[in-house]
């Protein structure tokens, strides 16, 4: 069985082709880049709408697959930016009806975990999913991926990007530049905000920006904001491992590219004798292959939907999805 997966929850439009053995035949993307500032939802949706047909044709051409070979269409149903979700969902419904194949609506966050399991061989991990739009610690318990800890306000990637913009770093996304500058920095105290198992990043950004206005060095703030935020995340990840008694940790999402975050989670896992895997960058960023793969898993578990009943779910929570395909 061959599934076409379409991702479009935020600034990335992704298309993937995956078969039921887990082989990825194509994984292409087109990214919306704001001229300045953060993502504008309408502009991102317009980008997806304009780029979709060409990207699909390119994907088919590169993989040598014809539309007629596709057995299933999956799309990112949520959570995400409404205009982006609707644009991509419309295309997915049209393809499903036109090709006469079933349609599956995939949860973006769950798809990140499933592609992580597929590409790293992890079987039952605690997952740290950190990106521009999400920061969650997840574990499969009682039929669903439960949220063991999450941000109370902005996501980690968003916090780092916002901080970067506020202190005059021009690149987008700024988190990458923050990592570079941090190498030359020293620690200045910042608030450390873990509330039980929840995290909060926005106050840290505000505080760091205030210190910058008061004359603190950008390098020091880059170093400190990373140390504090990553320590918070690692602490909650460790608590989730202890609580669930699982012995695998999976790191995914755009922020997974950060070497210091990997190092910290790696040390924590070593100290606990826990297996640590990082999802390869191509599959850690938003991508179409993860939607296609989770689409196959859901379809095989009988979770296809009727196009007439496939409205997008911008606030769809990870723990609202019955993961019927997971067998433990």
């Amino acid at each position: 069985m061959l599934c076409l997966g379409m991702e479009g929850t935020a600034h990335t439009l992704g298309i993937g082709l995956v078969d039921s053995s887990g082989r990825v035949l194509a994984n292409t993307k087109s990214e919306y880049r704001p001229a300045k500032g953060g993502i504008h939802p309408r502009e991102a949706a317009q980008h997806h709408g304009a780029a979709l047909a060409d990207l699909l044709l390119e994907t088919l051409k590169d993989s040598g697959i014809s539309l007629g070979q596709i057995d299933l269409v999956a799309f990112s149903r949520g959570p995400g930016l409404g205009p982006c979700l609707r644009t991509v969902a419309t295309a997915a419904r049209l393809l499903s009806i036109r090709l006469g194949v079933p349609l599956v609506g995939v949860n973006h966050c769950v798809a990140h975990v499933e592609i992580g399991k597929l590409t790293t061989g992890a079987t039952d991990p605690v997952t740290v999913y950190v990106s521009g739009g999400s920061s969650q610690i997840l574990a499969f318990i009682g039929g669903r991926y439960r949220v063991f800890g999450e941000t109370e306000d902005v996501a980690l990637g968003n916090a780092l990007d916002t901080f970067a913009r506020e202190v005059g770093i021009e690149e987008f996304p700024g988190a990458k530049k923050v990592e570079q500058l941090a190498k030359a920095g020293r620690y200045v105290p910042l608030p450390y905000v873990v509330k039980g198992t929840d995290l909060s990043f926005s106050g840290i950004v505000t505080h760091a920006v205030e210190l910058h206005r008061a004359g603190a060095k950008v390098e020091d703030l880059c170093f400190s904001i990373q140390e504090v935020c990553f320590s918070m995340l690692t602490e909650v990840a460790e608590r989730a491992l202890a609580h669930t008694e699982k012995d695998e940790l999976l790191l995914t999402g755009g922020v997974a590219a950060n070497q210091r975050l990997r190092e910290m989670l790696g040390i924590m896992c070593d100290e606990r004798d826990c297996r640590f895997s990082v999802v390869p960058r191509e599959y850690a960023m938003d991508n179409g292959a993860m939607i296609a793969w989770n689409g196959i898993l859901m379809y095989q578990a009988g979770q296809a939907i009727d196009p007439a009943d496939s409205a997008v779910m911008p606030k769809w929570r990870t723990d609202q999805v019955d993961a019927l395909w997971v067998k433990h």
């Binding site: 318990i141 009682g142 669903r144 439960r146 949220v147 063991f148 620690y187 105290p189 450390y192 509330k195 039980g196 140390e227 504090v228 320590s231 690692t234 602490e235 460790e238 608590r239 491992l241 202890a242 669930t244 190092e263 910290m264 989670l265 040390i267 924590m268 100290e271 929570r317 723990d319 609202q320």
Partner: protein, 219 residues
């Protein structure tokens, strides 16, 4: 003091030891046994931040325990805080954990549940949330229920956090003591309401929201 310490638990954040009071303080007291809680350094954190976090938490836990005692809750007495080494010395509460008690056929289990709920109510009314009030963290000594392990506790009047506390107690009762769950839980609520009065219903309303989100589900 080496041999006098017995390791009793290793948590994600701290190691726990028990010892005789006289072996720690070189004098006798009505407290015979003590618990020593040491927050351990974490290799993944830079040393400055590591020390900042462990010190703050040790001091905060001592403050919360002291305040809880002041407002009349049954909690271990703080006997010493060694700030520099992130060590807390507390009274050891001898007795039966509620978790074990509720699984055995003994008299007075419903009274113990009522008392557990009442203790949680005292904390909440006094501006403290426990953070992990499962039946593993409740000990019956004579007829009193003591709350222990304030590692996740904080000063807070948040309805959400109170609801999560109640939820954690409820879940612990449901998961370990299935057949008698509803009797246990209604006794606990009775005790809770006796302290919280009208505020209890606000918390219970929020509880149903918390449960719908399904994030604190136990295995």
């Amino acid at each position: 003091m080496g041999q006098a310490l017995t390791a009793i638990a290793k948590g994600a954040e701290a190691d726990l030891y028990s010892a005789r009071f006289s072996d720690v303080f070189f004098t006798t007291s009505t407290f015979r046994e003590v618990i020593i809680k040491r927050r351990v350094p974490k290799g993944y954190r830079i040393p400055e931040l590591d020390l900042q976090i462990r010190t703050q938490r040790t001091v905060a836990e001592a403050r919360i325990l002291a305040e809880a005692r002041r407002i009349g809750a049954n909690v271990p007495a703080v006997l010493g805080v060694w700030r520099k080494h992130c060590v807390l010395v507390m009274e050891r509460i001898e007795g039966t954990r509620l978790k074990e008690l509720l699984n055995t056929e003994v008299e007075g289990r419903l009274d113990a549940c009522r008392e557990a709920g009442r203790q949680l109510g005292i904390l909440h009314r006094g501006g403290i949330v426990h953070g992990d009030p499962t039946t593993s963290n409740m000990i019956l000594r004579n007829r009193d229920v003591y709350l222990i392990d304030f590692g996740l506790a904080e000063f807070s009047d948040s309805v959400e956090k109170r609801a999560v506390d109640v939820h954690l107690l409820k879940t612990a009762m449901a998961s370990t003591h299935f057949h008698l769950f509803s009797a246990y839980y209604s006794s606990a609520l009775e005790g809770y309401e006796s302290q919280m009065g009208k505020d209890a219903s606000t918390v219970l309303d929020r509880l149903s929201e918390v449960e719908k989100r399904g994030r604190y589900v136990e295995r």
